[in-house]
């Protein structure tokens, strides 16, 4: 799977909206998500949990990624790939939706 390198200065702004049917609970830095729409359950690891919380307060993905880069001593390309994987999966199961891109 091709995962683009995320560069906030070069990319269009991406706004992501969390499902209103999701119930969440954190434990040991990880997160459980119950989708009351599909009645399916999911779990997120520590980075996924922080990404969810960041998107709760600001739908701009670039802001969330910038915040994660500040918190983790990790290569930005690696982090961008990880974030994109989580976003793709959450969109696939209907817990995230992406608003039309703006530049």
């Amino acid at each position: 799977m091709f995962i683009a390198h995320y560069d906030p200065s070069m990319s269009a702004t991406r706004h992501l909206t969390l499902s209103s049917k999701a119930i969440t609970q954190e434990i040991n830095g990880e997160m459980v998500i119950l989708d009351m729409g599909s009645e399916e359950y999911f779990s997120l690891n520590e980075v996924g949990c922080k990404l969810w919380r960041l998107l709760e307060s600001n739908s701009d993905l670039s802001v969330a990624v910038a915040s994660l880069l500040e918190q983790y001593d990790v290569d930005s390309k690696q982090l961008s790939g990880d974030v994109e994987s989580v976003v793709t999966e959450l969109k696939r199961v209907g817990l995230l939706s992406e608003l039309p891109a703006t530049t």
Partner: protein, 305 residues
């Protein structure tokens, strides 16, 4: 009306419930009266949730809303819970009274208790010398068999299938629905010393029900919750924390209306508090084999020494 002990309270019922011990008047009243009666056509109420088996057959369905719910096990029993009068009306849909009571005691009443309790967990539970452990897992995972084996070792049974859990700041207290065990025939024969009073059980299961002659055990502090993973080739015990185990414990909780957003959110939060408060949350991977029981018990008990 007869009074019966159920969890840490007393309920009254015009239906005989021989699986339960008599309730004492000084007990905490559950304010729930069970009576037999006729109910109107349940299909007129909106369907809120259906519990199905692995083949998609409906085992239990919930209809209604607000303060009045209809829980029906198709072909077995239909019940109506009216929370304004605290009355549970029971209408038989079959002539097998043991099967009817099995649904009532192990499926319907635990869900009703969820409305007034923190958590009701699908678990067996035993206690000895201040150590109390609960076994949880899917049906057939070995909850009853392990509880019965620990009884052979001198432990006392708190619960076979339904465990009420209350979490305070630093303690998890538990009590069982009633002191009975349901064992498959082979388990029952291998663990013959736990035979007490043989009672009829549902004809759709091969399990035999025994009522323990001890009193209802309440208010014990839970030390460990053990998730059963049968079918493993090697015996292994692993301490677990995190999202996956929270999902597992949540999946074993009873709910009256799984579509109720607030109740579900509260239940998930209570499950998290349970895991954060309890000293041990373990997964026991083991081979489902009666000959392995002594080794399993020995390894588990070393964990708590």
């Amino acid at each position: 009306m007869n009074s019966y002990a159920y969890f840490d309270g007393v309920l009254t019922s015009s239906l005989p419930l021989p699986e339960l011990l008599p309730g004492h008047s000084e007990g905490n009243s559950l304010a729930m009266r069970i009576q037999a009666g006729k109910l109107p056509d349940h299909l007129k109420s909106p369907l809120l949730h259906a519990w199905t088996d692995s083949k998609g057959t409906v085992e239990l369905e919930l209809r209604g809303g607000n303060s009045c719910y209809r829980l029906t096990a198709p072909g077995i029993v239909s019940t109506e819970i009216d929370y304004t009068t605290n009355r549970l009306t029971v209408m038989a849909l079959c002539d097998d009274e043991a099967m009817l009571r099995g649904q009532l005691l192990d499926q319907i009443l635990p869900r009703i208790m969820c409305e007034t309790s923190q958590l009701v967990l699908h678990a067996s539970c035993v206690t000895k010398g201040g150590t109390t452990i609960a076994f949880t897992g899917d049906s057939g995972a070995g909850k009853s068999t392990l509880a019965a084996y620990f009884q052979v070792l001198g432990w006392k049974l708190i619960a076979d299938d339904c465990l009420k859990i209350s979490v305070s700041d630093n303690e998890v207290s538990v009590c069982g629905a009633y002191p009975g065990l349901k064992l498959f025939a082979d388990s029952s024969e291998r663990l013959s010393s736990v035979h007490a009073v043989q009672l009829p059980t549902a004809r759709h299961t091969d399990k035999r029900r025994t009522r323990q002659t001890t009193q209802q055990l309440t208010g014990h502090s839970l030390n460990a919750i053990i998730f059963l993973d049968p079918g493993a080739s090697t015996l292994q015990i692993e301490q677990r924390r995190g999202a996956d185990v929270l999902l597992e414990v949540f999946g074993q909780t009873f709910a009256l209306n799984p579509g109720d957003l607030k109740a579900t959110s509260d239940r998930l939060q209570d499950a998290r508090r349970l895991l954060e408060t309890i000293p041990y949350s373990l997964t026991l991977s083991y081979l489902h084999n009666y000959d392995a029981l002594p080794g399993i018990a020995d390894k588990l008990l070393k964990y708590f020494r």
